[in-house]
């Protein structure tokens, strides 16, 4: 209605319409690049301020080890001794988690593919994937130590145990997500089961498999740190560093190690996100980012 008025009305009306239109086409702040980064940064700064306040104003100096100030934690990041320990631990943890997730990917995809090939295999094997998922992993850690020692192998096994299920389930559901008509398209040409798997089912499942990899990679980092934390032997990873700092009440170092451990998790998760976009982003419209 307002358009008709503007078109047939006075010049003032028309001008107002033009202004309104241009105002409407301006990008809202939250959708601009600055709009994406400014709000989380404000939250972060607020969080640091609160943290500093609690640490310096609320806690008596004798109790400050419970929550060292952000500045004290930041100083650890330029402390060569702390950084040497955390740096070596990070390398160890990254190597362990990546080894674990690589093994989990190979095992999980094979397990999923095997189950997709025959109903009876799925019936026989899927319950165990669920059991694997349901066992509290901490309960298994001592057992793994018993059987495989306390070194690299045992820790990688923990990573695999914790990271395996998402690979199994995502592979299976991805392979089963092939639309019926596409399956029939292949059947009409008498495609072999192998051809169906390689040319239809695997490509269909790839986005789900990559989504599984991201979850598994994150979990594998958790596994590496848990294994470390519990075993405290062999080459120390980040988990060992955390355990040591905790026992010595070196809380600033402890916080630094926790922050680095979180960063390792985030970076590895994102790494698989990038891999996923490179592999299937061209054709797969992801709902995530």
């Amino acid at each position: 209605m307002s358009t008709i008025e503007a078109a047939s009305g006075t010049g003032i009306d028309t001008t107002r319409t033009v202004i309104a239109a241009s105002a409407r086409t301006r990008t809202p702040f939250l959708q601009t690049p600055a709009g994406r980064y400014v709000p989380p940064v404000i939250v972060f700064v607020g969080f640091l301020a609160l943290w500093t306040a609690v640490s310096t104003l609320l806690l008596a100096p004798s109790k400050r080890f419970l929550l060292p100030s952000p500045l004290a934690v930041a100083q650890e990041f330029v402390n060569p001794k702390t950084m040497a320990t955390i740096g070596a631990g990070t390398v160890q943890t990254v190597v362990m988690s990546l080894t674990g997730v690589a093994i989990a990917i190979v095992l999980g995809v094979s397990w999923g593919v095997a189950m997709s090939q025959a109903r009876w295999v799925e019936r026989s094997l899927f319950p165990y994937a669920v059991v694997l998922q349901s066992i509290p992993i901490l309960a298994l850690v001592p057992l793994v130590g018993f059987w495989f020692g306390y070194e690299f192998t045992a820790r990688v096994i923990i990573c695999v145990l914790i990271a395996l299920f998402p690979m199994v389930s995502n592979t299976l559901f991805g392979l089963q997500a092939v639309p019926k008509a596409q399956r029939e398209l292949f059947q009409l040409q008498r495609a072999s089961r192998w051809t169906m798997l390689w040319k239809l089912e695997m490509p269909t499942a790839l986005p789900a498999i990559f989504a599984g990899m991201r979850i598994s990679a994150g979990l594998s980092v958790v596994g590496a740190i848990v294994g470390d934390f519990y075993f405290r032997r062999g080459t120390p990873g980040l988990g060992s560093a955390i355990a040591v700092y905790q026992s010595r009440l070196q809380s600033a170092e402890l916080f630094a190690a926790i922050i680095v451990a979180s960063l390792v998790g985030v970076v590895i998760f994102e790494l698989f996100g990038v891999l996923s976009r490179l592999a299937v982003g061209r054709w797969y419209e992801s709902t995530g980012h």
Binding site: A181, L185, Q189, R282, Y284
Partner: protein, 251 residues
């Protein structure tokens, strides 16, 4: 290839086809139907009457519980309700798929695919992914893919049902043109009476479940037809007859 309108032997011959599912539901009963080269048979019927099942039986995707189908060709093109393109392959890759599954060599299948893409008017879109195509263009790619088999028998399973009317008419003309060039035997399942009359040489009307053939209506309108044939008295008369037969089948 014989240029006469029909060959003596039908390419596909259904005799006494019936299908009853394990649950006891009878989808089709006593279907006799044959399609010869140069014939275009359109099957219309209420939804759920089993008309799509008929195509699935023709292509071997389903097996009838009674009766027999005899096929005298293995060059069968099947066009699905959806375009069923593989989203990770571009248009060319999708059109090449069937030849690839039949172990045709790379050079040969590229040639066949390019020719088919030309036939459906998709030149210049060879390297587009399906996600970049409109519904009508996806369907064209799907037609091109079926064309690479050089089908003698072309089965269409409600292929244009999901498209808007203008796109649908364009694709009807496309199929008409392909039919004039290739002179295949066509078997089209459709909901649309107008589409059935526009494309066919014979309209078969089916009843509701269990699906039976209740009327076979010859379509004498000369081929090729143009869009404006839809406004002629003969066309209206034919759609009226198909419509009346459908009504009758409902009661």
């Amino acid at each position: 290839m014989p240029d006469t309108l029909t060959t003596p032997k039908p390419l596909i011959d259904f005799s006494g086809i019936g299908i009853t599912y394990p649950g006891g539901v009878t989808a089709l009963e006593g279907i006799d139907l044959e399609v010869r080269r140069g014939e275009f048979v359109a099957v219309v019927g209420p939804s759920g009457c089993g008309k799509s099942t008929l195509l699935r039986i023709a292509s071997g995707l389903e097996v009838p519980t009674t009766g027999a189908v005899s096929l005298t060709t293995d060059h069968i093109g099947f066009v699905f309700q959806d375009a069923t393109l593989l989203p990770w392959r571009d248009v060319l890759g999708n059109v090449e798929l069937l030849a690839e599954l039949n172990q045709v060599g790379r050079t040969r299948r590229r040639e066949t695919a390019m020719a088919a893409i030309g036939l459906v008017g998709l030149e210049g879109f060879e390297h587009q992914l399906p996600r970049a195509l409109s519904g009508g263009m996806k369907m064209r790619a799907s037609l091109a893919r079926a064309l690479t088999l050089d089908p003698e028998l072309f089965l269409f399973d409600e292929p244009f049902g999901a498209l808007d009317e203008i796109t649908r008419w364009n694709l009807n003309d496309e199929v008409m043109r392909l039919f004039m060039v290739k002179r295949f035997a066509g078997l089209l399942i459709t909901h649309s009476i107008s589409e059935a009359v526009y494309l066919s040489t014979t309209v078969v009307v089916m009843s509701g479940r269990p699906g039976r053939v209740i009327d076979v209506i010859d379509n004498p309108l000369p081929m090729p037809r143009r869009a404006d044939v839809r406004y002629t008295a003969e066309f209206t008369d034919l759609t009226g007859r198909v419509s009346a037969a459908l009504e009758k089948g409902h009661h």
